[in-house]
Amino acid sequence: MDATATVGPVTPVGPTLRSERAQARRETLALLFRKPGFLIGVVILAMWAVFAVLGESIAPYDPFNDFARRHVPPGPEHLFGTDRLGRDVLSRVIVGARDVLLVAPLAAILGVVAGSLLGLIMGYYRGFIDDAISRVVEAFLSLPVILVALLTLVVLGSSTLVVVLVVGILFTPIVARTVRSAVLSERQLDYVTAAKLRGESGLYIITREIFPNVLGPIVVELTVRFGYAIFTIATLSFLGVGIQPPSPDWGLTVSDEYTNMISGKWWPTLFPALAIASCVVAVNLIADALQSLTGE
């Protein structure tokens, strides 16, 4: 055997690098599903998604036009009781998932897309652009979301499109700030310098070099904003400027029924309120799990 120390060797790679990577990914996924919070969140959200899609076909009664006795308490006939017009609360809660699960994600996506765009530009260019946009962002951040949304919706009139736009735009500065700080730490890395040294344009560096690496925080931000959107939209509906009747939307129902709680008719209010809470909690459980994973 020749015992000469080799010169400048080809460092061999284990034959399993690729499968190792796949395995690491599998392990990560397995870890995610082993987090009870994540599992609970996914199950709850999936349930509401199924309800939203199937809606009337699985609801025990017609949520709109099936008028029975008013304010029947929860019982075998009506599991969640009936509301002030005698409609089945369970059926309305099931179908009520539809509006919020359509509007909230759209608003969250709008806010995250617009916010990410701004954040990428601010974080990468710094200097004057950053200063200018930052001041506007800060001004927006100082406004109470609900109040501004309320005023805008009153002025513009309420429609699903306007609700999505208003909530989305109000989320934009918050997202922009988060993404900006992620970009700031990326742009200090030497690969950005290397890209500049070979003459890449700012647009290329932002979209092709930096963006893929800040996708993690953006996805987390998306889930967090989704949770807030559910809450915000329910609040707006409660205040009467969000989703409009005759939709069985949860916030709207709470708004219509809460005065009856004084006379002991708690069920038409409690069940939609619980539905809102379960959605927000579920989304936040998922967001937390994702965040702890990208943080590792």
């Binding site: 120390a5 010169v7 400048g8 460092t11 690969y191 040294l197 690496n213």
Partner: protein
Amino acid sequence: MSALPNVEIEPTPPVPSKAAALKVEDLHLAYVVRGIPRPVLRGVSFEVKPGESYGLVGESGCGKSTTAYAAVRYLPRNARITKGRILVAGDDIVKKSGDELRTFRTRHASMVYQDPGSALNPSTKVGPQVVEAFTILGQDQKRARDSALAALQRVQIADPERVMGRYPHQLSGGMQQRVVIAMALASDPQLLVLDEPTTGLDATVEASVLDLVRALIAETSSAVLLIAHNLGVIRTMCDRVGVMYAGKIVEEGPAAQVFERPQHPYTVGLLRALPRHGVTKSERPLATIPGTLPQIGTPLPTCVFVDRCPLATDLCRDVDPPIVDVGNGQWTRCHHWDRIGEIKEPAPGLGQAAIEQGDMALQLDNVSKTFRSGGHDVPALVGVDLQLFDGETLGLVGESGSGKSTLAKTILGIEGPDVGSHITLEDHELGSLAAKRPSGDKRQIQMVFQNPDSALNRGKSVRSILGRSVSKLTGLSGKAVDDRVDKLADSLRLTQRHLDLKPRQLSGGLKQRVAIARAFAGDPRIVVADEPTSALDVSVQAAILNVLSELQAESRTSYLLISHDLGVVRYLADRIAVMYLGRVQEVGDSETIFRGPNHPYTEALLSAVPNIDGEVRTRIRLDGEVPSPANPPSGCVFHTRCPRVIKGLCEVTEPPLAEVEPGHLMKCHIPLEELRRLQAQRKELVVEEQSVGPVEEV
């Protein structure tokens, strides 16, 4: 598994007579990652006697830091000690409860960490922090304060009252580390663990901190466990040394003996991979250790080093290597230790021939760079004149803050120089910023960064990283790009499989190869390498240095090499420029610089390097701190720290950068012959000391 019986010769290394202050017995430790325990220590045994200093060396991932933290049982949550005992003064700390551990750490063990900046509380003055180290021992405020003053004096802080009134960030790194050491010694611990105590410090500061620690070790009866990746530090500080590999100690013995007569193939490889004894690229390539460290958690049935060992035989795969006592307290864990002599050094013929000086590639005239900070001008570069010739390597050395990196950035066009600076590439002047330079110029000057993790986009495959650079720098497209990428990969010895991977799936050395390939994508004239190997392990560093010198020989590219490691500079550089406070103090051939006579600053820098060959030298201590560039000293900027300062001259006039002998420029008032005489005197002193005492410098 083989049918051969697995002879279990578990370590009972030669037992020293005195009772051990720290005794680690067959320690097995695993980290639980993604729910699966991954073994990191696989039966570590060693002991340290009171008053003895024991060093652990090895490359990153070998488990040396884990061992250090285990010795004070300060481990991350996911660490599990699966087997073994850790005895401090006879007490098993593995069995201790939370409260007992706290008392143990207060009274019996201390640790000094790598980064003193984060070991001190930034929002509290130094005084209360040091005092607290004594009040926790039960002293009242007044006594604790007196003790704190004494402790700071003990670590050679000249003005302890003043230092106690400062916040940590107002102290230099060396001063902070002294404070941390003073606190660690407060309880007069039985065990002192030092984890890379000087790694973040500059050479001259490192030297003085090491001197201090050595003096303290000599006067206390503490057992000292020192972790360092720098073999020179271990050699100068430790009585005994253990060489770790993949969670096992593979060789142990008296430090001088292990470094001079290593008996394990890994130790041999580690020592030969270092650029030592003034070896240069023109003599021979550096020896490397083939392969990579096994991944954490992979099962290693027998010898942990078997896959990379030049002596490995079937026996090594089938039977656990025995512990072989080779005498004088040295042992090795190897079947074939008697064949150690068969491991050959790389043949000298394979080195790169010296490159004769060619045409001028880059010329710097009066290059200055001033930053504005808090309303003040901070000059980072002042009137730098330098030339870089075709196919040569110019080494740039100097302590942090000397302006090396700023100079590199200015040449690359990352920072624009001040008005009046001229950077000429071949025949034309370069634009100040890279963005304004024509693509031809960008192609000519590229960079290799210090940290490949930061330099390579983690989201992209190696192929796309290289492909983009090729198409952007050369203007090629389609098939031609792929061909060029293949050719680049070939010359850096990257395989097709590597090209499809992402950076994080590659080892540190492979990542740096990718980064080098990218710099060479457009066949550049000049490559700036900023500490290209300082993030890498010794054996990987050797391979990268070999690759860099091969590429240079093939393409006649000029390198501007920035490094704090003088061994690396000596190996790769043809000429060397020494910088201090943004000014070039000395330029000359590598040989001239290392032979001397030198500028007094260079002399101090050269003498500060902890030496792995155990060669005695008197260290020149630089007093005071590096002055602030915002407010540089008058006259010669080095006069405030210069041991050879001429009063009345140096603080008044700045000497010019004058050619003192052909090709050797220096900025000093003292004539060359005088420097030669003074520096020869110093070396004689060393020889006398050597002939009197043993090879231990104190």
